[in-house]
């Protein structure tokens, strides 16, 4: 989770990703951020997030995103 938070903070240092739960709904993350994020997650966790998983529920908070990573790691 710490590595993920670090990636997120590098993208938007002004946001408190520990507590924010509406990253997509409030347009904190745009589609460009999401693509950058997915590439970095791929590097860090060796997990490929498929396009159909790019939905608000999976990207609205750091916690939700981390759950997605764990789920995809399990599926592997």
């Amino acid at each position: 989770m710490e590595a993920l938070l670090k990636i997120l903070e590098e993208l938007h240092p002004e946001i408190d990703f520990d507590s924010h739960e509406h990253l997509i709904d409030e347009k904190v993350l745009d589609s460009f951020d999401i693509i950058t994020l997915i590439a970095e997650i791929n590097d860090e966790y060796d997990v490929a997030i498929p396009a159909h998983e790019i939905i608000p529920e999976n990207f609205n908070s750091a916690k939700a995103l981390y759950s997605l990573i764990e789920r995809l790691q399990d599926e592997d």
Binding site: F32, A39, N42
Partner: protein, 529 residues
């Protein structure tokens, strides 16, 4: 059958009356019949094209689902008997089969679209190369572009990709799938609905609800007002300017550009109002396609508010899959190693963005002006993305604040930027578009705005009065809409006020609509896409 034709009004009256009279369980079947009748009137051969798309998509969906069932049965049967690795391998094998089916379906349907829409464009390009070498040129083929083919093809592609992704199960009733694809209010110019959105209310049984019906009717009326009073009136001046670039340059180009922005807005959003309104009169919910786009403060925001269903379609089915596919991730990694983090991580975003905008451009029309228009949109978006840190620094130093004046400046800037890009759409020729754009700066003779020249563009003084009032009405309603639905606000007001507005709107469409001698009710601009 045009939305603005008497035959459409007649068709609609009969369809809606019978829709609420027949047994409710037959309503969706009746709508399917109505949609096919509507489509049949645009040419029986068009019906063949849409049927081929429906049938191929239907069977592909079922086949993909069969493989899912086969996989589930196998995994259940062998639970505990196969290793995790074997399980994974089996799943991959099934997925590969499903991928093959999906690809065949997509290539087949996209192929139909490509052949009817782009064959002559390809021939024209080949001919220009052949003529350079003085070789015999190819002859053009006479292909009819079926009405709404880009819209229904994208709808079915979205559906089959979602089925492949396991977002929902395929529709097992071919009639229901056919209705989703051919639902008549959406056939002409979208919105490009998603199956899981539209199906919620499309197949339901609907009782007549006077409130919903009257909201739908008001929306339709509002659409006709935009289309007939504003768009079809201003088009005369737009055509005079853009079809005579040798005569009308300089300030005229600016006038044409602004007029076209008004025409396109009134035409396209008016058409969508009619679509959503007609659907609402039938009790069916269709997603919004616009959120006051000309109030956008940046180009990125503009594209979030203009033709929303197309933008999200391209995002979900092209931009994301392209950006996160394995080769792109590998490319990202390689470029980060080679050029460093800063440049490397931009590679997939840049590539995917430009490919999406190329596709958006060519989707709009099979000519270079649309491709250049699309690519320029991509370039402007990327530049504004890159300049964001600079803006932030500037705002830290210069405290402008979020004042009304600054917001207005940003809105006007975005409007002018988008209108400038649309010059490519006006002139339909890349060279002429750029030439005319630059004449705005080289021939800034603003006298033409005041010396009566504007009255020689196919519009007389009374037309301008109607247009000015029309635009003021559009603007006022948009400003009110920021606080919520105008129709809902009106419903809280007295019946006298409410009905006065409806009656004024109705009669202004009848009296000030641009038809009769000298006017020709025009096709909707987005019909041709």
């Amino acid at each position: 059958m045009l939305f603005t034709s008497y035959s459409f009004i007649f068709f609609l009256c009969i369809l809606i009356s019978l829709y609420y009279l027949i047994p409710k369980r037959l309503q969706w079947k009746f709508l399917l019949l109505g949609s096919f009748v509507f489509y049949f009137f645009s040419g029986w051969s068009n019906l063949l094209y849409i049927l081929v798309t429906i049938i191929s998509t239907y069977f592909t969906g079922l086949k993909i689902d069969d493989l899912n069932r086969k996989q589930n049965a196998y995994l259940k049967e062998n639970k505990g008997q196969i290793t995790k690795e074997e399980r994974k391998l089996y799943k991959e094998k099934i997925k590969a089969k499903q991928w093959k089916l999906l690809l065949i379906c997509l290539i087949f349907n996209l192929g139909i679209l490509a052949v009817v829409k782009y064959t002559n464009f390809a021939i024209a390009n080949i001919n220009s190369v052949l003529s350079m070498f003085r070789m015999t040129e190819l002859s053009f083929v006479n292909l009819i572009l079926p009405m709404g083919i880009s819209f229904y093809t994208f709808k079915t592609m979205g559906y089959i990709i979602d089925v492949y992704r396991g977002k929902y199960e395929p529709e097992r009733n071919i009639g229901k799938l056919a209705l989703f694809v051919s639902f008549f209010p959406q056939l002409i110019q979208g919105p490009i609905s998603r199956y899981d959105d539209l199906s919620k209310s499309l197949y339901q049984e609907h009782s007549f609800d006077s409130q919903t019906f009257s909201y739908g009717f008001q929306r339709v009326l509002w659409g006709y007002f935009k289309k007939l009073v504003v768009a079809d009136r201003i088009v005369a001046a737009v055509l005079t300017i853009t079809r005579n670039p040798d005569i009308y340059d300089g300030v005229y180009v600016f006038v044409g550009m602004v007029f076209y922005a008004i025409q396109l807005y009134a035409d396209f959003t008016g058409g969508i109002d009619i679509t959503i309104g007609v659907a609402q009169m039938l009790g069916i919910e269709v997603k919004e396609n616009f959120i006051r786009p000309y109030f956008s403060k940046s180009i990125v925001e503009y594209w979030r508010r203009w033709h929303i269903t197309m933008g999200t379609w391209f995002r979900d089915y092209i931009f994301y899959p392209l950006s996160v596919c394995k080769p792109m991730l590998n490319l990202s990694k390689a470029s980060r190693n080679r050029f460093g983090d800063k440049i490397g991580k931009r590679v997939p975003v840049y590539l995917a963005t430009m490919m999406v905008w190329f596709t958006t451009g060519i989707w709009h029309g099979s000519s270079w002006n649309f491709i250049v228009w699309g690519l320029l949109n991509g370039v402007v978006i990327l530049i504004s993305q890159e300049l964001e840190p600079l803006y932030a620094k500037f705002h830290q130093k210069v405290k402008i604040g979020d004042t009304f004046g600054f917001r207005l400046f940003r809105v006007i800037r975005t409007f002018l930027l988008m209108s400038s890009l649309r010059i490519l759409d006006c002139y339909r020729d890349v060279g002429i578009s750029f030439k005319m754009f630059f004449t705005m700066f080289t021939k800034p003779d603003i006298r033409v705005l005041f010396d009566g020249s504007l009255l020689k563009l196919g519009l007389d003084a009374s037309d301008y009065v109607v247009l000015i009032i029309g635009v003021i009405v559009l603007l006022t309603f948009s400003l009110i809409q920021r606080k919520g639905s105008v129709r809902e606000m009106l419903s809280y007001n007295s019946a006298v006020l409410r009905y006065s507005i409806y009656i004024i709107l109705f009669f202004s469409v009848l009296i000030f609509g641009a038809y009769g001698i000298g006017f020709d009710s025009n096709q909707f601009i987005y019909n041709q896409f």
